[in-house]
């Protein structure tokens, strides 16, 4: 059995998860500070990929990054091409997983007790310190949940990925595109094997989350 789709799926999910972690947190942090009208508008834009069919996200990505589009041509000059490459999958997964991180992080930040940040400021702590050492630890449950959701979503991404990077065995194949491809070509046994792999990964993720949560509770974290 060729394990390339597993490796490819995991690296795409991990890389997009890292991007989404920072982008989601930054968006959640800054959007909360904006005036109400702008906040509502950006909120809609940032959440849109969650409600749009992934194929529509893929369509927009192709329009933006396709090889004959301005941005795609510009990037091609530096040898970067998102369409039909494995790292194009990162872009596709990141866009689709972003709203999950953004929304959970925003929820966590909104329930954060601002007097903690204020008292940090009056004590002379820098805003950077307050953000990373006080706000983030206080919100870690919500942020962790966001990371896991984003990772799981990126790992299972199909629609946008197949639009943008297609299915090339040994190059752009991921678990979900492989399952579809094998089923389509009547390789039911092969499809079943990958379905099982997927089930195992999902179960491991969920178990890890549960373990982390109970550990947090035991440590008395809030």
């Amino acid at each position: 059995m060729d394990w390339y789709p597993l490796w490819n799926s995991v690296r795409i999910a991990a890389a997009s998860c890292v991007i989404v972690f920072f982008a989601g947190i930054a968006a959640a942090y800054y959007v909360a500070k904006l005036p109400r009208v702008l906040k509502g508008l950006l909120d809609v834009i940032f959440t849109l990929p969650m409600v749009l069919p992934p194929t529509v996200c893929g369509y927009f990505l192709l329009i933006l990054l396709g090889p004959r589009r301005p941005l795609g041509m510009f990037l091609a000059r530096y040898g970067i091409q998102f369409a039909m490459t494995w790292y194009g999958g990162i872009a596709a997964s990141a866009v689709v997983a972003f709203p999950l991180m953004y929304r959970t992080a925003r929820g966590a930040f909104e329930s954060f007790d601002l007097s903690l940040a204020y008292s940090g400021q009056t004590l002379g702590l820098s805003n950077t310190y307050i953000f990373w050492r006080i706000r983030m630890p206080a919100c870690r449950q919500g942020i962790l949940a966001g990371v896991v959701l984003a990772f799981a979503r990126a790992l299972g991404e199909y629609g946008a990925t197949s639009m943008l990077i297609g299915y090339v065995p040994g190059r752009t194949a991921t678990i979900s595109t492989t399952v579809y491809q094998l089923w389509r070509t009547n390789d039911e046994a092969g499809a079943f094997r990958w379905v099982m792999v997927n089930l195992v990964i999902s179960a491991v993720i969920l178990l890890t989350v549960n373990m982390l949560e109970s550990k947090n509770r035991k440590a008395g974290g809030t």
Binding site: L123, G124, L125
Partner: protein, 348 residues
């Protein structure tokens, strides 16, 4: 110390207008919930930005809307104690205090200051514990220590005892008074609790609807509140509209009586107040027939609700509080009040 605050800020349905000059000591701001007390403190600390005005602390301009000066809270050197103490939940008591020492760059000096404050505030026993493992009183001590080590020029205490139950509150008031005396810092304490303010503060300013009414020595303000809002906030239960009837006489139509006063009455008098504790059946002056309506028993006092015989319909009942051991066998038919206990209240 010298503090000068002149600020304005629109707040929902009223405007906060603060004009305060303070020389130093412990100042209490007494006001009902939601009157803008916390907003005042937050403006001084730099957490909230006033719409316009100027704040100067010890000659340093912290805020000036005209000159576009607005120092960050980090640069103001003002300590703030939050109602819930705002200890960082992910750090031990000791780490929390170290956060107050972030300005101290020298390692050994920092450690020394930490040990000193831990000893002075008796935190040794729980220095390695997390906030959620500490009692309310211990949390307050850690928060005070954390604030004091940062070396602020002014301490702002925002309802520091309201998160505690009654028994602990009184213990901690004694403790905080002791600490404040020991460290000799200038303090502004905001509270809606008159006992707290009376016990801890040398001066009091009363706040009503976003306006600072009057700054006076604590004892003087409680003895002569001077306005309706101040009388209510200092705990006066019986207040009615009144007008001048003579040099030492006021007419109270709502109660259907005319009261003699010890102080000369000004022409613009608008109301009088009678404290529930000061009624006296043996008084020789201001003695009027009363009708008792109800009795409310408390652990050590009895509260009698009564009306004057000639009192207007639809006006609130009056209160008379008597310590239980001095309760008369038979309720007196006449109640009096000494002229010096008639509070004269004027427009704000």
């Amino acid at each position: 110390m010298s503090l000068s605050v002149h600020i304005k800020r629109k707040l929902g349905n009223f405007t906060l207008r603060i004009d305060l000059e303070y020389e130093g000591g412990i100042l209490g701001i007494l006001g009902a919930s939601g009157c803008g007390k916390s907003m005042t403190l937050k403006s001084i600390a730099g957490i909230e930005k006033p719409d316009e005005g100027r704040i100067v602390l010890n000659g340093r301009v912290l805020f000036d809307s005209e000159k576009r000066i607005n120092l960050k809270p980090q640069e103001r050197n003002v300590g703030y104690l939050f109602q819930n103490y705002a200890l960082f939940p992910n750090m031990t008591a000791e780490k929390n205090i170290l956060c107050g020492l972030s300005r101290e760059k020298d390692r050994t000096a920092r450690q020394k200051k930490l040990e000193d404050v831990i000893e002075a505030m008796e935190i040794q026993k729980f220095r390695k514990k997390y906030p959620h493992q500490l009692s309310g009183g211990q949390q307050q001590r850690v928060a005070l220590a954390r604030m004091l080590v940062s070396g602020p020029e002014l301490l702002l205490l925002d309802e520091p005892f309201s998160a505690l139950d009654a028994y602990l509150r009184e213990q901690l008031q004694t403790q905080v008074r002791h600490i404040l005396q020991k460290f000799g810092k200038d303090v502004i304490l905001v509270s809606h609790n008159r006992d707290e303010v009376y016990y801890l503060c040398c001066d009091v300013a009363v706040m009503d609807n976003g306006k600072l009414l009057k700054l006076a020595r604590t004892k003087k303000l409680f003895a002569d509140p001077g306005s309706r809002a101040a009388a209510i906030l200092t705990g006066c239960k019986n207040i009615a509209g009144a007008r001048k009837a003579g040099e030492y006489e006021v007419d109270v139509p709502e109660w259907g009586i005319c009261l003699k006063t010890a102080q000369p009455v000004r022409d613009d008098l608008c109301a009088v107040g009678l404290r529930a504790h000061y009624f006296n059946p043996k008084s020789r002056e201001n003695l009027f027939p009363v009708v008792y309506l109800a009795r409310r028993e408390e652990p050590f006092e009895v509260r009698m609700m009564f009306r004057y015989a000639g009192q207007q319909e639809g006006t609130p009942d009056l209160w008379w509080r008597i310590p239980k051991d001095r309760r008369p066998q038979q309720m007196p038919k006449m109640l009096g009040i000494a002229p010096q206990n008639v509070l004269l209240l004027y427009p704000e």
